[in-house]
């Protein structure tokens, strides 16, 4: 019995609905953006072709570089916290019974709050004078003011994101764990495997698929994050929490110039694409190559 997938071009029929529903509504906007990005739009009816001009300007922009670095740090921090935490939660969640239902519902709640409401609530929540978190921290002697301290602002935004999105990772990992047949655990018992060995050799490999999705999703979404930090800190204090999408919006709205904004969007998109591509290939190939035994 071979383990390679059989070639079958008729499988395209199965994929067609997806292609139609996604492609036509995705390609047209993309082309529009590409079109704008190489034009200087002086007025609705007047535009001049400027080639790669906007792209060069965008890539030279040092404010953009700073925003990019901030963004990379943020996304890195998000992944570093949310992925392990989500997996740990999934391992800790009950597998069945009324308890599992309760935990699922409670865990899902942060995901369901509209993003502007998330930012708004955390705005009050973190205030030292009127919010639960701020008040409690101040009572414990922590000098905490996210409007004035960059560190506090960063931490608040990060923790808000962790609060908001870790359940996504946890739910995916939880579903993935439920999909592991009991026989694997039984065989591991008979083999005398330790709990850590069960995690490392059975659970983690079987979670590879869902973890890939979780990592890519969280990376993309955190890289594009806009509403929550904007509502919470407005990008401040100063520019310390101004991430990439806020910078883009500022430029586009502030300068009211479609050309550079479109070029920026393209660059933005390409950065995400490239990094996702790298992550995707890395995770796919981790632990799959043959190697000789000891």
């Amino acid at each position: 019995m071979t383990t390679a997938k059989p070639v079958n071009q008729r499988a395209w029929w199965l994929v067609l609905p997806v292609l139609i529903s996604v492609a036509f509504s995705a390609l047209i906007p993309l082309m529009t953006v590409v079109n704008y990005s190489v034009q200087d739009i002086l007025s609705p009816s007047q535009s001049v072709y400027v080639g790669m001009e906007w792209y060069k300007e965008v890539l030279r922009d040092s404010d953009l570089h700073s925003a990019l670095v901030r963004q990379l740090l943020f996304s890195g921090a998000v992944l570093a916290v949310e992925i392990p935490l989500g997996v740990a939660l999934a391992l800790a969640m009950p597998a069945a019974g009324w308890r599992s239902s309760l935990v699922l519902v409670l865990l899902a709640m942060p995901l369901l709050v509209p993003w502007n409401v998330v930012g708004t609530i955390w705005q009050i929540f973190s205030r030292a004078d009127i919010g639960l978190l701020g008040y409690t921290l101040t009572r414990f002697g922590v000098d905490y003011n996210y409007a004035q301290s960059s560190v506090a602002a960063w931490c608040t935004v990060l923790i808000m994101d962790v609060w908001h999105w870790t359940p996504l990772v946890a739910l995916l990992a939880y579903a993935g764990l439920r999909a592991i047949p009991e026989a694997y655990y039984q065989a591991a018992r008979i083999d005398g495997a330790s709990r850590w060995a069960v995690f490392r050799y059975i659970q983690l490999p079987k979670l590879r698929g869902v973890l890939m999705i979780a990592v890519l999703l969280r990376f993309m979404d955190s890289f594009m994050i806009y509403t929550e930090p904007f509502v919470l800190t407005g990008g401040g204090p100063g520019t310390s929490t101004t991430f990439l999408s806020q910078y883009l919006t500022q430029k586009a709205v502030g300068q009211f110039d479609l050309g550079p904004a479109a070029a920026f969007s393209m660059v933005y998109f390409l950065i995400i694409l490239l990094l996702c591509f790298v992550l995707y290939n890395y995770i796919k190939d981790v632990g799959t190559a043959d190697r000789s035994s000891s």
């Binding site: 019995m1 071979t2 383990t3 047949p181 026989a183 694997y184 039984q186 065989a187 018992r189 008979i190 083999d191 005398g192 495997a193 330790s194 060995a197 050799y201 059975i202 490999p205 632990g287 799959t288 190559a289 043959d290 190697r291 000789s292 035994s293 000891s294």
Partner: protein
């Protein structure tokens, strides 16, 4: 090599561990209380239809389930509450269970490393087992990309690699294997049995597999062990109607009869059977005889009943004849027939030594 004894072992999935003994009738038994001994080094098949409790029994022996009641003894030692990893047993599951990220070598070495074996000894032992299973060329490859039968061999190998393993339990292991590879694997299993002299317990719903693999067959249905014996015993002297139906192709014929004037009678004719005893009064009586032993005569004699041939089918090595005996259909499987029987009246002769009396589905001794 292990002597396995089950003493009044029964299991119910719906019972709580502390159900008092008197409530046993109220429980929904997945495995009815039974007592059985399996001798050292034998090859046993647990045979039966889906849901008959054979997997439950297997898991009780391996320790994955603690039975609701009863005791299990391995070589005289009470292991009822002992965890699987301490029991010197190995289990192979219905679909291959391998550690995908490890190489074949590491897979086989895993149980040994968990028991703190030293590297040189691990190496020697793994090579030994890999050779028996013909896995030597694959030792360096990741287990993930291998075919299903190779993976099952690895599963088996992980069981065999521990020298203290006394019994290997199989839970329908050939289910996902290609038909032409099944035969090879079965042969390999027999070979291992002879070479390593382990006790092998093999769960299956396929009677051919059971009959070819095992020395002794334990036939189960609805949580009950119906008969345990060699293939020959199950064939020639089924202890229960179910055994008669399940074993043999086609299954045993069962004819309604009545007890009158001290003898079993079919439609008034006395039929002498191998059963010497007197059936309990009021029991539903049947006479069982396998199609292979039904003889067709053209004249009446002792132990023969008038019948009518209504269909004849040539199966090559044998001929299947369908007879109408009163209201019942009876099959006869004839071998080496030079002349094909014609449709029409005939006398079905039931040789006394080949038929038996069944009262309430159980064979009368």
């Amino acid at each position: 090599m292990a002597r396995i004894e089950l003493v009044d072992v029964g299991h119910s999935y719906s019972a709580s561990a502390s159900a008092p003994a008197g409530q046993s009738d109220a429980l929904d038994w997945a495995l009815l209380p039974m007592t059985m001994t399996w001798a050292d080094g034998g090859a046993y098949a647990l045979l039966g239809p889906s849901g008959c409790g054979k997997t439950t029994l297997l898991n009780i022996i391996s320790g994955l389930i603690a039975p609701t009641r009863g005791q299990i003894l391995l070589d005289g030692r009470d292991v009822t509450l002992l965890a699987p990893e301490h029991r010197n047993i190995a289990q192979v599951f219905q679909f291959p269970v391998v550690y995908d990220t490890m190489t074949v070598f590491d897979n086989l070495a895993f149980p040994l490393r968990n028991r703190q074996w030293r590297t040189p000894e691990v190496r020697t032992r793994v090579h030994e087992i890999a050779e028996i299973l013909e896995l030597l060329p694959d030792l360096g490859r990741r287990a993930r990309g291998l075919s299903a039968d190779a993976k099952q061999k690895i599963s088996l190998g992980r069981g065999l690699v521990r020298p203290d393993v006394a019994a290997v339990l199989f839970d329908e292991p050939l289910t996902v294997i290609d038909p032409h590879l099944k035969w090879l694997l079965r042969r390999k299993l027999k070979q291992i049995h002879q070479q390593l002299r382990l006790s092998l317990i093999y769960v299956t719903h396929d009677q051919t597999e059971a009959l070819t693999f095992a020395d002794q067959i334990v036939l189960m249905t609805k949580g009950e062990v119906v008969q345990a014996g060699t293939a020959q015993e199950l064939f020639e002297a089924p202890a229960h109607r179910f055994v008669g139906h399940f074993i043999g192709t086609p299954g045993m014929n069962f004819l309604d009869c009545e007890w009158r004037d001290g003898a079993a009678r079919i439609a008034g004719t006395q039929i002498v059977t191998a059963s010497g005893g007197i059936p309990p009064a009021g029991a539903k009586l049947l006479i069982g005889i396998r199609p292979e032993f039904v003889e067709l005569h053209d004249h009446a004699s002792a132990n023969s009943v008038p019948a009518r041939i209504c269909a004849v089918r040539d199966l090559g090595a044998s001929t299947m004849v369908q007879l109408q005996l009163g209201p019942a259909a009876v099959w006869a499987k004839l071998r080496n027939t030079r002349h094909v029987p014609e449709l029409g009246p005939v006398f079905a002769h039931l040789p006394p030594v080949r038929c038996a009396l069944y009262a309430d589905e159980r064979r009368v001794a």
